[in-house]
């Protein structure tokens, strides 16, 4: 009898204390985008965040790499059914599937990166890519000798246009006479995974005089940056820090801290502080940035660095407002 009472008291105490006790057990999961976990870019950033969480907490993170878009919904639903929570969905293309599944499982917490889904159990994390792209644009304009700068995007969607538009503004800020030559790899999700075509597009730009190319194309970027190296031109990476891919010909990388977004979502769930809603991460919030490390420090002169840092400070303070392509679907304010 006594023992029963004791355990009942303990149970009640536990249920009362649970919210107070910082660490709860969670079963987090990630559904990657079609680019694949090891795209050296966007998805790999998410993976890095998940790995960090795994290492710190010893909590396993379930992962799924879909081969095509139709698998998003199945994967999200399967994870929700298996009691995974929270679930991070990577990429804008999962928005529709996630909205559907999130309605079916109102008690499961979802985080979507790069898109907004307005449901109470969904946390939407979007980035001000235009601000980060602006900075690498400044750097590109300063590093270019020909005054011609290239941009190769992945799939032709407003999100990628936002990279392009911010990049263009940065270029014009540093050198009003510089010219931007832009290409998109394709109009289907396959455009994130076509390094051969990316390389061919980049070579086409180099032939037209481009000497710095910005690859905002997921796994396709591997081909673009390789082409830059093969031709002795400069490449700019995206999402993850890609400087290590080709030390010496990587001018910089536009960092999008998807690793932080993933890690924060898991950590918040674990500590019971997870909240739905929209988070917009810009330069000010540390959500985007430019990469400077040992692999590219020789390419960035002190004068270039000073100019980029000045632009960064001006954007953070609001002195420079970088126009967002997605606000009016045009690169003109």
């Amino acid at each position: 009898m006594n023992r029963w009472l004791g355990s009942a008291v303990a149970l009640i105490a536990m249920s009362v204390l649970a919210p107070v006790m910082a660490q709860t057990t969670i079963k987090p999961a990630v559904v990657y985008s079609t680019g694949g976990k090891f795209d050296k870019s966007f998805n790999e950033g998410v993976s890095a965040g998940a790995e960090k969480f795994k290492k710190e907490t010893n909590i396993a993170v379930a992962e799924f790499e879909p081969n095509n878009e139709t698998q998003f919904e199945q994967a999200l639903r399967r994870f929700a059914q298996r009691g995974q929570d929270p679930i991070v969905a990577v990429g804008f293309s999962q928005a529709v599937a996630l909205e559907k599944v999130a309605k079916e499982f109102p008690n499961v917490r979802f985080t979507i990166i790069d898109s907004v889904v307005k449901l109470p159990n969904v946390q939407s994390v979007v980035f001000k890519e235009q601000e980060g792209s602006f900075l690498v644009g400044v750097l590109a304009a300063l590093a270019s000798k020909s005054g011609k700068i290239g941009f190769v995007g992945g799939m032709d969607i407003p999100l990628v246009r936002r990279f392009q538009c911010g990049f263009e503004q940065g270029i014009k800020y540093a050198n009003p006479n510089a010219e931007l030559i832009s290409n998109m790899t394709g109009t289907t999700p396959a455009a994130w995974n076509d390094p051969g075509r990316g390389a061919e597009l980049a070579k086409g730009q180099f032939d037209r005089g481009v000497d710095v190319v910005y690859a905002a194309a997921g796994s396709t970027g591997i081909g673009i940056l390789q082409a830059a190296k093969d031709r002795g031109n400069l490449g700019i990476g995206v999402d993850s820090n890609q400087n290590h891919l080709h030390p010496g010909t990587m001018l910089t990388s536009m960092l999008k801290r998807v690793d932080l977004a993933t890690y924060n979502s898991f950590k918040a769930a674990q500590t019971g502080q997870w909240k739905g809603g929209v988070q917009v991460l810009g330069l000010k919030e540390g959500g985007v940035d430019w990469a400077l490390d040992k692999d590219n420090e020789k390419l960035v002169t002190p004068a270039m660095k000073a100019k980029v840092e000045a632009a960064k400070a001006d954007i953070v303070s609001g002195k420079i407002v970088v126009h967002d392509y997605m606000s009016n679907n045009s690169c003109k304010p």
């Binding site: 090891f38 832009s182 396959a190 995974n193 390094p195 075509r197 591997i222």
Partner: protein
């Protein structure tokens, strides 16, 4: 003048780069189809070859070892196709599709198991890739020339040699070949093996020539385009080469024309540019090609009368 010349040269270089795997694949498919074996599995063979080329090159550090591995991998699938279609007289299209699915899955699984990079191989550097021979900027590695050379060679073998004559006979009327005392199966196996050899080279070109490493589904439907080129060329080597070059040129143009402003129209939409090759294909197919006649016995398993 100078600018016009360099533009033409660059377009040509780009066309050749894109067309090389198509040409190699189309010549391979030509041998197979001439011998009466339909090969839908070109795509799969090329993909498997691309994977083993990159994997071997990255482990051994030698591009040539990669080329050898690519040929072996493609030949293995070719033999499998031969076993299913020639020895066991299975449906050739089904076998080809199965090979495509097998290659798409196996490359990613093996890649993930061996290199832990989600199916990609490590990026290749230096000697692990086939270097350009004469024009560093144009990317003219040895397989580009091999592709160009394969066309007259294919023509010569099919049109001028004893083996070629028998191959054509076995694709048109295997019964006659059998009656003449020749082995239909052995002839067809040789056709399939030649196809494997060329598809292997195409795969090696993709992963260690044009690109620096293997990535998932990197063939991106080029095996099927090569198949279309064979039909375009009415199962003849030179016209098939022409078809491959047209596809290559359209692709190169699509790349160059993107983002270019046309006077009076403004910037041409990306979608339109990218639809161009397909529109032109439809147009050419509907109006200019005329009747394309396949080898009569293509796709039909040969069964000896009892």
């Amino acid at each position: 003048m100078d600018e016009a010349f360099s533009f033409v040269f660059l377009m040509l270089a780009s066309t050749l780069r894109v067309a090389t795997p198509l040409v190699l694949c189309a010549m391979g498919g030509l041998f197979s189809e001439k011998g009466g074996i339909v090969d839908v599995g070109l795509e799969g063979k090329m993909l498997m070859a691309a994977f083993f080329a990159a994997a071997t090159a990255s482990v051994t550090g030698s591009a040539w070892a990669g080329v050898a591995a690519a040929i072996i991998a493609a030949e293995a699938l070719a033999l499998l196709h031969g076993l299913a279609c020639i020895t066991y007289r299975g449906n050739q299209v089904v076998s080809g599709v199965a090979i495509n699915i097998l290659a798409a899955g196996l490359t990613v699984v093996l890649g993930a198991a061996w290199f832990a990079r989600g199916g990609q191989t490590p990026p290749l550097v230096g000697d692990q890739r086939l270097a350009p021979l004469f024009l560093p900027g144009a990317g003219d590695n040895i397989l580009v020339y091999a592709a160009l050379l394969s066309v007259p060679l294919t023509w010569w073998i099919i049109a001028r040699t004893r083996f070629g004559l028998r191959l054509r006979a076995v694709g048109e009327m295997p019964l006659a070949v059998d009656a003449a005392g020749l082995s239909v199966a052995w002839l067809r196996y040789r056709a399939v093996l030649l196809c494997g050899l060329l598809a292997g080279l195409a795969g090696a070109y993709l992963s260690i020539g044009q690109n620096a490493g293997f990535s998932r589904d990197m063939t991106a439907g080029q095996g099927f385009i090569a198949l279309a080129a064979i039909i375009f060329g009415k199962w003849r080597p030179l016209p098939a080469l022409g078809a491959c070059l047209i596809f290559g040129l359209l692709d190169a143009m699509a790349i160059r024309l993107q983002g270019v402003r046309v006077p009076g129209l403004g910037e041409v939409p990306v979608q339109l540019i990218q639809a161009m090759p397909y529109l032109l294909t439809m147009f050419l197919l509907a109006g200019f090609i005329g009747r394309a006649v396949a080898p009569k016995a293509a796709g039909v398993p040969y069964e000896k009368e009892h």
